[in-house]
Amino acid sequence: MTEVLFPQLSDQDPDGEGVLATWFVDDGATVAGGELIAEVMVGKVTSEVIAPVPGAIHLKVKEDDVVRQGSVIATIS
């Protein structure tokens, strides 16, 4: 099982919080390696999250949830 982490977007505030802005896949969906799975934001910096491996994805947070950078947002098995 692979953990997908909220990316580190802020150098000044590495433990700071951001938001899970958009999920592009549903909970339980099969994703391909390299597929776009989410868009996140810290402050006004946005980032795309790509699936590191293929598999079935389980979403651990909801859209608009406030999330700490580096924490787990999904798992792929």
Partner: protein, 351 residues
Amino acid sequence: MTTTETPATTATAPTTSARRLTTAKAMVEGIAQEMERDPSVFYLGEDVGAYGGIFSSTTGLLERFGPERVMDTPISESAFLGLAIGAAVEGMRPIAELMFVDFFGVCMDQLYNHMAKIHYESGGNVRVPMVVTTAVGGGYSDGAQHSQCLWGTFAHLPGMKIVVPSTPYDAKGLMTAAIRDDNPVVYMFHKGVMGLPWMAKNPRATGPVPEEPYEVPIGRAAVVREGGDATVVTVSLSVHHALDVAEELAADGIDLEVVDLRSLKPLDRETVLASVAKTGRLLVVDEDYLSYGLSGEIAATVAETDPGLLRSPMRRVAVPDVPIPYAHPLEYAVLPTRDRIREAVHHLVRA
């Protein structure tokens, strides 16, 4: 909640395995695939390079295609929109971005007196195959000079096609069609449908988008929800609000048909008339100003074809003829919100 599209009026519906994109990303993908296919396509505007467009209209394009094809311009709308016209006249396919449609005042001459008229004035001898992209719409307190839609103003003037996508699927398909069209096409994208992380968004701002290039025909509306009790004709972000209201009211036994115009020029009057003929009741929801615009045009379409189609007077929900206010409660009093739509539907079905 899914959007259903009548096959006769749309391009092929998305494949079942289509991945999802935001409207912004779908728009960018449309541009990128055309830039890949046709070396004469290039994009210019303010902050479209490294910034990726202030509403994410060009994110990633500079990295992929380089500064020769994705160009930041000075704040010189007349000059760079005019430059796009000259390049188009010479056979290139420029995409020029007017950052906010509200800025049209500083460059409208190049658009409506030149871009839109050259083909006609030259008796068809000179073509202007360019796209003007521009951000429209309010709802986030950007005030009177940064929140307008103005598609009525543009559609009123001859010689420009006008497209207004509401979904990611249409955003990519209409962009592809716009770039390939040999005429000037104004592509108006509402900031609220782009799916931007930093602005409140409707869940429909993300949706299925085929990976391969495809076109959505310009000039064809889509019936995005079938229903028998009343027709809601609308465009852009208001499509989503209308669908939200339709879902709610279905529980009350009111069955709305929602028509997403998608193009304002050419205008698909046939789809509007067919729907009104079916339901007998018409509501137009338009985030542009009420008077002398799109909603009046839809009314005229019905009135001059057959006013007898209507069982009751039509209704319009639009921005009243006031500058869009800054303060949140004031702004939301003038926008065509779900509350206003719901109230109008109730009046319509009770009349």
